[in-house]
Amino acid sequence: MDFVQVQNLCKNYPDAALGEFKALDNVSFVARAGEVFGLLGPNGAGKTTALRILATILQPSSGSVRIYNFDVTEQADFVRHSIGFVSNNTAVYDRMSAWEFVEYFGRLYALPADRLYPRMEKIFRTLQMDEFRDCPGVKMSTGMKQKVSIARALIHDPPVLIFDEASLGLDVMVARALQSIVMDLRDQGKCIIYSTHIMREVERLCDHVAIIYKGKLLDTGTLEELADRHEQNDFEELFFQLLTQGDKGHFDAKPPAGLGMRLRTDSTASQGSAL
């Protein structure tokens, strides 16, 4: 089932120097339930813009985006209930504890108390957050903050989760735990949009990928499909090759590819209980 459908998405920003800046130019892709969809690209490629549109924070200039079959423009309220969004820009409040923070968002999602608190307990236990549940945001480490953000995104049990460079700045241990959480969520049938520019993460996690560069979609498909298509088994080299071709203008956006086989170099076992 297609949980995320992006068709000809365009986003233009007014720019004092250029007049208009095309952050996204006709980007299309589809992400399905039970898969991790990697959105790849260098800095400034348009990943964050695309994910902000998916999260209803920004409005598309043109094109169509549907999440869980709700239109992000017309049915933004339903979309917000269907997603959990974690990014570097979604920080935690300095003067709230981890528990208060998650509780606040749970109540914003209108979860009744008899559902909210058991779920909070479960999430805190699963993400190993009980140790710092009363710690205010200002005293949390980066890893703690990221866990709290993930807990906040999971509190209403959304079918779609969006991670925008969520592993940036995390140490190896926490990054590994994050990957584990993502794989658990995928195994539960959730659709995960995962933006990163760490190739090893992509190889570990992603079932499908879309590579964006300068607002344009360079290619999309499974890792195997991309490897076959570009005759390059090293994904980092493949990525670099695509960007170089993108600079030369050799690439046109490809239509969304079909579901391919998973290519995971490390099938890390699921850790912790299901969320």
Binding site: P14, A55, T56, F85, A91, V92, R107, L108
Partner: protein, 742 residues
Amino acid sequence: MNWSHVKLIFHREVRDQLRDRRTMFTICILPLLLYPLMGMVMLQVAQFHREQHVSIGIFGYENWPSDSPLILESSDPSQIRWKTLTVDDSIGATLEQFQTVQTQTNSEFKNKSTESYIVDGKAAEKLLRQVHCDAVIWVPPGYHRSISDNPLVILSNQRWERSQLAIRLLAEELEGWHLSWIRTQLAWTELGTALVDPLAIRQLDVSRPEVKRALVWTKILPFVMLIWALTGAFYPAIDLCAGEKERGTLETLLCSPARRKEIVWGKLLTIMCFSIGTAMLNLASMHTTTSIVMTQFSQLGATDMVASLGPLPLHSMGWLILLVIPISAMFSALALAVASLARSTKEGQYYLMPLLLVGMPLVMLPMIPGVTLSHGTSVVPVTGAVLMSRAMIDGEYGLALLHLPTVMAVTLFCCFLSKQWAIRQFESESVMFRDSERSSVAQWIRNVWRQREDTPTCNESILCGLLILVGLFFGRLSLSGMPQSWTSVVQSTLVIQVGIILTPALIMATMLTRCVRKALRLHRPRPLDMMAAASLAVCLHPTYMAFAAAVGKEYKLGEQTTSMLMQFDSIISSTPIWQVLLMLALIPAICEELVFRGFLFAGLQRNGGQVRAILVTAAFFGLSHGVLQQTITASVMGVMIGWIAYRSGGVACTIAFHATHNSISMMLAWYSSRGFNSPHCLSWAIEHCDGHLAYTSTWGALSVGIAITLIAWFATRGSVLSNPRSSIGLNDLHQQRVKFTA
């Protein structure tokens, strides 16, 4: 609108602010500490001032009249320490020099028979230092024989504050001695001492003490409270908007189920809560402190003025609380909108000063002597509310209740606009997610040139309007005074209309747009529309005159302006009517319409901004008239003309309207000043009244009906007709003259 979201956000934000030590210090601790500390300092200063003594030395006291000694013995309670000094040879030589220096009357002694000698020599300063005195009196030899022939020499150094104080105290002492001496002398004659004080006055103050005490506070308290309400709103607003952007928590909230409007409401209520809290805490702290300090002052023997202040009247607190709620709501919404523009806390603080500068005149206006609550002042935001609270504190409840609906309507309307602006800011991606600008002016200019369109942008239109207003300000300053002849009237009209108003718009239309015709909204008009616009001007003129008269009654013209208008009337009365109509009706109509309903309107109406275009061009049009009364009437008429410009799609109809309106005003003034009576054929419409031509009530009523019909006709002509462009013509002071005759 989900109010449970608003409530949740409000609770969280309040709790968050209460946990912030910086906010709590500014909002709560500072007010509680500030006034007691200030009061303590004031008390200490007063005590120090009271205990401060000055030394005054007297040379040659043996020359003082022995029958009427100077205060030496009786000066114990005063602050003066007297020192009798002996003149030795060196000092005597110095003193002798002082008799030759130029004399200058000292303000402290202006009503007395003595004069002070101001010397510039180093010797004088050296003398003062030598004898360790703040001032020195030299009683010259022979003074006891004739005090009028031998003036006292008083040395002081006005550069020293203690010396200034010594002179002031000495003046009081000498005045007392002077009166005593006169009485003594008169006692020896048959004239009696009544000559000294021939006028006896008994003053009775009928004001009640509590009202009198409230008088000063009514001016101080609203000012202090509004400043704190603004401050109390702004710092939380910065933290809740710019601070959250900076910390990255705003995006967290934006992707939550709460809508932007709900987020704004939650934050707005929080800011309002703290704004009111700050103002109230300040008020309470001030009340407590003043009660104590004023009591202490009265015990210290304070002056009547200070004593009359007394402690803060308690009943005034209640009225101030009522005042602060709507005002805080408005300030909070404004602060929220302004703070949302900032990307960081630091940047947000830069915006505080402009907001204060905008708000300050409205807060200061009620403090101007003579400004009271009236129909005119009640419509001014903030000012009206302050004046109403003052009326309530003064016990003028009837007056306050009379203006309560207007003040509340204006305040609530401003609150609504501010809140809408704040919501709009939160819904704007360019505001919420703007990055740092690249500041390349050359590139920006290239971009503006490359991306020219047929019509100007909204920003270009506003810039043009502002440039014109600034130009008019300096232009009117340079054209000092009223024109003395028709030639100077023509010159000033051309300079203002063509040079200052039209030229900037023409230059911008040429350089910033691809099509000057479209930029100025020049379209071929339909004759029927033109006729309808001109007819509408004729029919609306009586209503306009009545409105202008009402405005003139509420905001009276000064004597100087009135005399200038009369002089202007006399100038135009001696000029042929066709010249008057050309220069004061047609040219202003063309120039102003091309600019306001042309260039400005074209930019402002883009992206469906027709209402914005009508209102903003009306405001610019009104402000371009300089005189407050004309600004009001022209702004109102500007809305009408803007609507015609919108319906007609161009400026031709508005020019017809404007020129017709101006022409009628000019003709009425011209014929009135020449003493013409109404022609017989127009006697049903125009009559002679108090030396001026005015509309009859019959035509007044009839014209309203016809005007409504014509407006309805315009309204049903379709969204873009081919021609009307309106105008109003109030560009001259002269027309004001006519308005008041209506």
